[in-house]
C-alpha cells in the first residue's frame, strides 16, 4: 500500500513537471508591457482571444486562429448595411455602421450573437467608430453629407442594459473620425478641428480639456502610455503618462 502511495505521489509530481513544461508560454519577442495587440476604432479587423473578426459592408466573419497559421472560418453573420468598423470589448463586439451601433456577444466566440442596437435620436444617419468602456459606449457620428440635415456629434450611450443602449450625452463636433480612451480621458479625431482631449470622468457630460492642431487626425490608439495617431502625414506619437496632457514624441 505504501509503495502504491509513493508511486501515485511520484507520478503526480512527474505529471506536474510535464504539464508545466508544455505550458511554458510562447511569449512573443515583439511583446513587452502589454501582450495584447490593439487596433484603431476605424478598423475592420479585430482580435479577441483566439478569434479574428472581420466586417465587410454587410456581414461579420469569425475566424478561429487558435492554430495561428491555419485560420478557420467558423461563421459569417449578416449584420446590417454600410458597416464600417468593429471594436472588441470584453466578451462583446461593437460594430459601427452608417446608421447604428450593433452589439454582439462573443461568449461563444465562434458564434457571435446579436444583443442590441444603439441608435442616436439626434442623428439618424452617419454613425461611425465606437469604443466601449465599462458600462458606457462612445461613438462619433459624422454628418458631412451636403444635405444630411443633422449635426456631427460624439454620442455617449449607457450600456448597463446591453440589449437596450440609451443615449445619455452628446458633444457637438465638426468632422469626427476615430476615437480611443485611456482611463478617464477620451481622444477624438476631428478632421476640421484637430485632436480633442476630452475629460470623461463624468462620461455623460464630456468636457474638452484641450485641442491639438499639429496635424489632420484620422484615428488614435492609446497603448502602453503612448498615443499612436494616424494622421494624413503618417504617424505621430505622444507620451500620455499624464493622459490629460499628451506630449509630442516623434513622427513616423
Amino acid at each position: 500500500m505504501k509503495r502504491n502511495f509513493t508511486l501515485i505521489i511520484l507520478s503526480c509530481l512527474l505529471m506536474q513537471c510535464t504539464k508545466s513544461s508544455t505550458s511554458s508560454s510562447t511569449l512573443s519577442t515583439t511583446a513587452s508591457a502589454s501582450t495584447d495587440g490593439k487596433g484603431g476604432s476605424t478598423a475592420r479587423f479585430a482580435i479577441a482571444g483566439n478569434y479574428l473578426y472581420s466586417v465587410d459592408e454587410t456581414s461579420l466573419k469569425a475566424f478561429d486562429i487558435s492554430d495561428p497559421i491555419h485560420p478557420v472560418l467558423k461563421n459569417t453573420v449578416s449584420v446590417g448595411f454600410s458597416i464600417e468598423t468593429i471594436f472588441p470589448f470584453n466578451d462583446k463586439l461593437f460594430i459601427g455602421s452608417s446608421t447604428a451601433v450593433y452589439i454582439y456577444s462573443i461568449q461563444d466566440p465562434a458564434k457571435p450573437a446579436a444583443l442590441g442596437t444603439a441608435l442616436s435620436p439626434t442623428v439618424m444617419r452617419r454613425c461611425d467608430p465606437v469604443v466601449a468602456k465599462d458600462t458606457v459606449a462612445f461613438a462619433t457620428l459624422r454628418a458631412n453629407a451636403p444635405c444630411g440635415g443633422t449635426r456631427s456629434i460624439l454620442a455617449v450611450y449607457d450600456i448597463k442594459e446591453i440589449t437596450n443602449p440609451i443615449e445619455k450625452g452628446t458633444l457637438t463636433l465638426q468632422e469626427p473620425y476615430g476615437l480611443g480612451y485611456d482611463d478617464d480621458v477620451l481622444y477624438v479625431c476631428d478632421k476640421m478641428v484637430g485632436l480633442l482631449v476630452i475629460d470623461i470622468r463624468r462620461p455623460y457630460n464630456p468636457v474638452v480639456i484641450k485641442t491639438i492642431t499639429d496635424a489632420t487626425f484620422s484615428d488614435v490608439i492609446p497603448y502602453n502610455h503612448m498615443l499612436i495617431c494616424w494622421t494624413d502625414a503618417g504617424i505621430k506619437l505622444y507620451d500620455i503618462s499624464d493622459n490629460r496632457n499628451p506630449v509630442f514624441l516623434s513622427n513616423i
Binding site: 510562447t26 512573443s28 519577442t29 515583439t30 511583446a31 513587452s32 502589454s34 501582450t35 495587440g37 490593439k38 487596433g39 484603431g40 476605424t42 478598423a43 475592420r44 479587423f45 479585430a46 482580435i47 479574428l52 472581420s54 465587410d56 459592408e57 454587410t58 456581414s59 466573419k61 475566424f63 486562429i65 495561428p68 497559421i69 491555419h70 485560420p71 472560418l73 454600410s82 453629407a145 451636403p146 444635405c147 440635415g149 484615428d219 490608439i221 497603448y223 502602453n224 503612448m226 499612436i228 494616424w230 494622421t231 494624413d232 502625414a233 503618417g234 504617424i235 506619437l237 507620451d239 514624441l249 516623434s250 513616423i252
Partner: protein
C-alpha cells in the same frame, strides 16, 4: 401673428428647396473614381526594405511594434522600443490591402478577396506562411458605397475595382 406667417412660410419653403439635389451635374467637380488592379498581379506579395509611407492607412499596435497599412499597397513594420526614435524595419508589398491585426508572431492582413498570414518573428524579414482564398467580399464593381454622389462609371476592361477615390473629375457621368 398672421403677418409673421408669410415670411415664416417663405423661410420654410426656401430651407426645404435649398436641399433638393442639383440635377445639373457640374462640369468639373468632386466625384468617386474607381481604383483598378489587374487580377493577375493581385496575389503578388513580397518583402522589401523600409520605405517612405505614401498613403498612410490603418494602424495596429503590438508590444514594441507598430504596423501601418499603406493604402492598397502593403504594411510598414515599425520598431518603437525607442519612442523618440522609431525605426522602420521592413515593408511588405500586399496589393489592395487595407486591414491588419497582429497576435503573437503572426500578422494577419487582407489581400483583395484573400486573407494572408505572415510570420513576423524576425521583423526585418517577415515571411508569408498562409493564404486563405476568397474569404472576403470584393468591393462592389458597379458603384461606390455611398449615396447621393457622383462617380466615374467603372470600365471592366481596365481590371478589377478594388476601391474608390474622391477626385476632381470632368463631367462625371454616373450618379447614385
Amino acid at each position: 401673428m398672421k403677418r409673421l406667417m408669410i415670411p415664416f412660410t417663405a423661410c420654410v419653403v426656401i430651407a426645404l428647396t435649398a436641399c433638393t439635389p442639383d440635377q445639373n451635374a457640374p462640369m468639373e467637380g468632386q466625384a468617386y473614381v474607381p481604383v483598378y488592379y489587374s487580377e493577375q498581379n493581385i496575389q503578388q506579395i513580397s518583402t522589401d526594405l523600409p520605405k517612405v509611407t505614401t498613403d498612410p492607412g490603418k494602424i495596429y499596435a503590438y508590444g514594441n511594434y507598430i504596423f501601418q497599412n499603406d493604402k492598397n499597397s502593403g504594411i510598414h513594420i515599425i520598431d518603437v522600443s525607442d519612442k523618440k526614435h522609431p525605426r522602420k524595419t521592413a515593408f511588405i508589398n500586399i496589393p489592395f490591402s487595407n486591414e491588419l491585426a497582429v497576435k503573437g508572431h503572426y500578422l494577419y492582413a487582407d489581400n483583395y478577396k484573400d486573407m494572408v498570414v505572415f510570420d513576423i518573428s524576425d521583423p526585418e524579414r517577415p515571411v508569408m506562411i498562409k493564404r486563405m482564398e476568397n474569404v472576403f467580399k470584393p468591393v462592389n464593381q458597379d458603384y461606390p458605397p455611398y449615396i447621393n454622389v457622383l462617380f466615374e462609371c467603372p470600365d471592366a476592361s481596365k481590371g478589377v475595382v478594388v476601391g474608390w477615390k474622391l477626385e476632381m473629375v470632368k463631367s462625371p457621368k454616373c450618379r447614385r
